[in-house]
Subunit: 204 residues, 2 copies
């Protein structure tokens, strides 16, 4: 059934917002909003506020660009992490995936995407300048390229290698073990953990 | 992968809220929140506020208990509707389903549920008193029981009949045509429209 006429504009607005989410149709959106309407006011308030706070209060770490509640994220602020080792990833999901393996004790650098000419994303759209600044500042011994083994990931690896190989640091990539064509985010923890431990020097 | 450790408490809160919705798992919830994070602030604000307004600003019609932006809903306020004819439904989805058929020109009465001993819902949990008051006040010629053809719907029909048959009004039910065991909300418009037009006197 196509819920064409809503008895309330507020209800319709909420349904439209939910229906704008990926994979959520209008029927599902309506069902979700009806579920919220049945809850008590405090619960719905908490739900709405958790969304408002996403943009109002969330920070991105000034060093690694990971999402954070504070100016410096908990990984970068952790004194026990190896500051000479930087793992370059596409997004925060990848940080979470690698953190979950409990195999990596260095720091991260979140690019905020990968080079993808099809989507119009070039090197200047990514946080590569701040990565280079960090390397120039010294104290970095190794940079791991932990990008998805897709064409876009390979392109980004290649670009990063061209740009960073002039510095006196070791450049490595994740070990073969992550299947070709796989998204890093959905790789199982054992494969991903092994790939971090068996990382290889980057070569074209 | 089980996203066990979140880099941000705010992010985790938002994921938990989405994961509390029916049919939304933690992975889907995370994907939805990441989608919101990629949008600009104004859009996310509008999303959050549409949820907050659900409880803060929404009204229930003082006459028929349908959801409404005003004290009296647009159906009850419409001078052209037949005020002697009341259609009793379980919830607002059912009002919307019947309105969509464009076959019904009377008013509604939303019970806010149906009698279901299994779920602990008895007659006193439903808006039956206000329905009886409306009938006592006079001017009502016919009351249609438009409830789902489930065991709970039948029980509620029976209870309403017992309670309202002493008044000098016609009690009708939807015509056979709605398949047994079907939820009213998901019935197609043609069947539902025909069932309203071919309604029959209520008999046990």
């Amino acid at each position: 059934m196509a819920y064409t006429e809503f008895p309330s504009r507020l209800l319709e607005n909420a349904v439209n917002e939910f229906a704008s989410l990926p994979g959520v149709g209008r029927k599902t959106a309506f069902r979700l909003v009806m579920n919220l309407l049945r809850r008590d006011a405090g619960e719905v308030k908490r739900f709405g506020e958790s969304i408002l706070k996403l943009h109002e209060e969330i920070h991105y770490c000034r060093s690694c660009h990971n999402i954070s509640d504070t100016e410096l994220c908990s990984v970068c602020a952790d004194e026990k992490r190896d500051r000479s080792l930087i793992c370059v990833v596409e997004n925060i999901q990848d940080v979470m995936a690698i953190e979950n393996t409990r195999q990596f004790r260095g720091l991260y650098h979140v690019l905020g995407g990968i080079i993808s000419p099809v989507d119009g994303i070039g090197p200047s759209d990514l946080k590569i300048d701040s990565l280079e600044e960090k390397i120039k500042a010294g104290g970095i011994g190794e940079v791991i390229f932990a990008l998805s083994t897709t064409m876009e990931g390979d392109t980004t690896n290649f670009y990063l290698y061209k740009r960073l190989s002039k510095y006196d640091i070791i450049l490595t990539t994740l070990a073969r073990g992550v299947a070709i064509g796989d998204e890093l985010e959905y790789t199982d923890e054992i494969t991903l953990g092994r790939a971090i431990n068996n990382r290889n020097p980057y070569h074209q």
